[in-house]
Assembly symmetry: C2
Homo-oligomer: 236 residues x 2
DNA sequence: GCCGCGCTTCGGTGGCGGGCGAAGCGGCAG
DNA sequence: CTGCCGCTTCGCCCGCCACCGAAGCGCGGC
């Protein structure tokens, strides 16, 4: 992972309207002269020259002299790819999207702090509430008598959960846009599932994996147990 | 494609060292308090608050109030993806890379202005020079007698090529990092190949395809003809 | 040789944005 | 209720950067 300063320096190059317009004009792979780019950006020749010098210096743009013209083009495919990604991001921010086309692996099961998130986390939350094991309480949730018995039978240390600052509360799920269970109870449920090997940790997909060591997988035994106890089935 | 101003506004949010440090800290998906983020960025609480307000306003960060703490996290997977892409770009700019892992489709054959680029463009250039059809001349290349005859046999209008401002010159290839043939001759060769259906245009892969309508594909007949005439074989 | 054109450099101006200290607001605990 | 703590808002200063006009440089054309 690059240093924040280095990343910011690169991003700052894209963060000016005039430079962004120039880069978008070069996005197709064409080489354009400084004058053309100045007109595209709506600025004078001196300003365009300064901008292009910074882009070249930053390694985003390559320049090729030909007679009295200077042709500029994007320096690499990475620049085009980053530009495209930023464009997607800009559009998605302007008009929030409906689907989640990326990152399937993220969404099945993962740790969020110390509790289970992803589709499994949401399903657990629904199962606990749907079975009447949890009931709404001030600031979150409380266990019912059936819940205390059922959780104990699964091997969850409810007593330990009560020592936490918050016993059971909602946590907005990053990928599912629905809440899952957090707080001491969320922590103890995750610990119980890991201890009994119903959940296993999955190593990072690669160096710099956005989720780090947070990926989880439900084991066959875990799927059976959670289905039997709570009717929890994680959608494929 | 978003407007340059909108793209720049998003990029500018990433283009500040303090904000970049905060976003990198949130990259793992954890929710962090404003105070923690201020410490990470090495700035005071007021400055951090202002930065976070802009990030939230820009839709890059989501905030969740919990008691007197405010937990911040990346608003969507797109933000994480864009951050990762920018990081890659920053590293590749700092230390130019050796491989080209992305965008295979870009590199086989495409139009660069009006001539052929990509591996096919480079191979054509090598073939023309290797067969002795082109010889170095002031400012580019000139045809030999064998070249004039061979090109005419292929159906290339060399006379029309001579009317261009430049007859034959090198053009640095974006993806291959080697030169291919440009100028009037490059244009005529591309026109000839398209006219005889040795090359076909490939429609954009999707809306907003970086290469637009510039993608090309070598037809089986084209592969045979170019191999026979010039020994041109495009590596798979 | 001279002129013309594209581009860059220089000097100066203006405005946006980041930084901090001090004060204000809100939640939590004793 | 009162004090503490996290966070925000306000007011202010400073520095960076974008922009333009004018002048300088380099290449190509007449």
């Amino acid at each position: 992972m690059p240093t924040p300063a280095a990343l910011a320096a690169t991003a700052a190059l894209l963060g000016d309207p005039a430079r962004a317009a120039m880069l978008q004009a070069m996005f197709g792979g064409e080489a354009l002269t400084a004058g053309e780019l100045a007109r595209v950006a709506g600025i004078g020749a001196p300003a365009a020259s300064a901008h292009l010098a910074r882009l070249v210096d930053g390694g985003l743009v390559a320049v090729h002299r030909q007679g009295r013209h200077r042709y500029h083009r994007l320096a690499s495919e990475e620049v085009a790819a980053a530009l495209e990604m930023l464009g997607d991001l800009t559009l998605s921010v302007a008009a929030p999207r409906r689907g989640w086309p990326h990152g399937e692996g993220f969404r099945a099961a993962r740790l969020c702090w110390d509790h289970v998130a992803g589709r499994l986390g949401v399903a657990l939350h629904q199962g606990l509430v749907g079975r009447g094991w949890l009931t709404p309480a001030a600031g979150g949730w409380a266990t019912t008598a059936a819940g205390d018995a059922g959780l104990a039978a699964l091997g969850v240390d409810v007593t330990a959960a009560r020592t936490a600052r918050r016993f059971a509360c909602d946590c907005m799920d990053w990928s599912e846009r629905r809440v899952h269970l957090a707080g001491g109870l969320g922590r103890e449920i995750a610990a119980c599932c890991l201890r009994r090997h119903w959940l296993s940790r999955v190593p990072p997909a690669r160096e710099g994996d956005p989720l780090g060591r947070r990926r989880l997988a439900l084991t066959p035994e875990g799927a059976r147990q959670l289905d039997a106890a709570l009717g929890v089935r994680v959608p494929a």
